[in-house]
Amino acid sequence: MSARQILKAALLLGLLAPVATPALAQGDVRSRVAAYKHRVQLLEDQDAIENLQATFGYYFDKGLWNQAAGLFSARGTFEYGQRGVYIGPARIQQAMLLFGQQGLGKGRLNNHMMLQPIVVVAPNGQTATGRWQGMIMLSEPGQNGKWGVGLYENEYVKEGGVWKLSKLHFYLTAMTDYDLGFAKYAIQMEGPSALFPPDRPPTEVYRAFPNAYLPAFSYDHPVTGKSLKALPMDGDDIVGRPSRGMEEKREESSAAKGLRQ
């Protein structure tokens, strides 16, 4: 970590400062304070972005589409599953009507929990990325409840000192009936709407469970520092996506075997 090395160097300089000229000592203190301010700023930025995304979740849960759309930048994008991309707050608000009326209708449950954030703020403090785990509980009149899960890979931008969503991309990866569960049932995703067609088609075409899909990580491995963009994943013949880095021969896992005995 280069910031760390710079800090260490600054600390070493600090030890030498008393024997140097006062002007040098002052400059050293200034650079150290500047470095610390930057580190605190990055922590505050991360905190603000986590709150922004959590707030999006609280608005979206309750059908507050106007408030939720207001969290996006002017060219911000919203993409949910295979519904396509909506650009800008006005179109995003329209896209959200596909999830129900403003204010959430009677008998509806639209919970989208925002969990497990990995927010990475760019060194210049102006943009950021965030991966989130999204658990879903849905209900609408006349239908059974639904469980769902997926991943968010989002982007954020700081405009006029305020963090906004510049890209929200929710990759729904699995959805099922409340009672039946994934062992017996899987619900596929909605496609682009004819009522309010998206501004762009889906950026990645994939199918949810029982098919496999792994959205690329926006951040690198925290220990090895290596990219996590092309990890092993089963292909999908229907979609036309080949397998990537998977072993050919495959046995049933020992846990699955053992626990069924």
């Binding site: 970590m1 760390r4 600390l11 600090g14 400062a17 008393p18 006062p22 000592a25 002052q26 203190v29 200034r30 150290r32 304070v33 610390y36 580190r39 605190v40 922590l43 505050e44 991360q46 969990l115 497990q116 954030p117 990995i118 991966r131 785990q133 658990m135 469980w147 899960v149 699995a174 569960g181 994934f182 062992a183 017996k184 469970f209 029982p210 098919n211 496999a212 792994l214 491995h221 925290p222 220990v223 090895t224 996590l228 990890l231 092993p232 994943m233 089963d234 990537r244 880095g245 998977m246 072993e247 495959r250 046995e251 049933e252 896992s253 020992s254 846990a255 053992g258 626990l259 005995q261």
Partner: protein, 263 residues
Amino acid sequence: MKRKHIVAALLAASMVAGGSPVAAQTADQKLAELDQRITRLEDMNAIERLQRTYGYFVDKSQWVQLSELFTDDATLEIGGKGLFLGKKRVLEYMQKAFGPDGTKRNSLANHMQFQPIPDISADGKTGWIRARAFVMSGGGWGLPLYENQYRKENGVWKISRLTGPFTMYTSWDGWGKWAMNNTWPDKFDPPPDLPPSFVYLTYPAYYIIPYHYPNPVTGKPFPILKSDIGAHAGVPGSPVQQQWSTTARLADGTQPIGEPPKE
């Protein structure tokens, strides 16, 4: 509050900057202290990311990447399966028990990570997290707790101990109808290097893993008393409770773990 403190310290530090050498020394100490406090926040942040990343790798069966999160001498213990020693065995356990690397068709094992309580040692080299996950899988639901330890090696945080006692395992029938009361060493491959460090049963019995941190209000650490530890499947003193508490405290592995509770 924390932010105000830091800003105050930054202001104080810049004010003394132009003073005498003695004052500069004081500024130096203040800056060092500030560095320590910022580093602590960064460290807590880093171990939370590590734990969340562990969850993302489990979700998608990325075992090589997962094992790289661990120190070479790390230990791993999940449910009642026993202890696996070292990074290599962590990898072997995952690949043997749950299949080879890669996101697979017909596979769902999301381990959603949340509610972390991170702490960092005074010397900044060791960290701990109590956290939980909610498992939504093809087979049903699971509720693990974690009391993990982390180590900073050459400036990089890694998992040095993962201890994940489960609170509950259930199928899609739901915990009102069925629950598996734990995993155990010989139920599936590979066998562990050491037997479980503690034997317990999951829901409808329970186990409390000791907290790495004291009660935040009283400031006092507290032991988990034997009477608190668990296996309370009924009203205290009832025959059901008596039976469960006896079962849960057997340590020789002969207990009938794994049978779903019968009403």
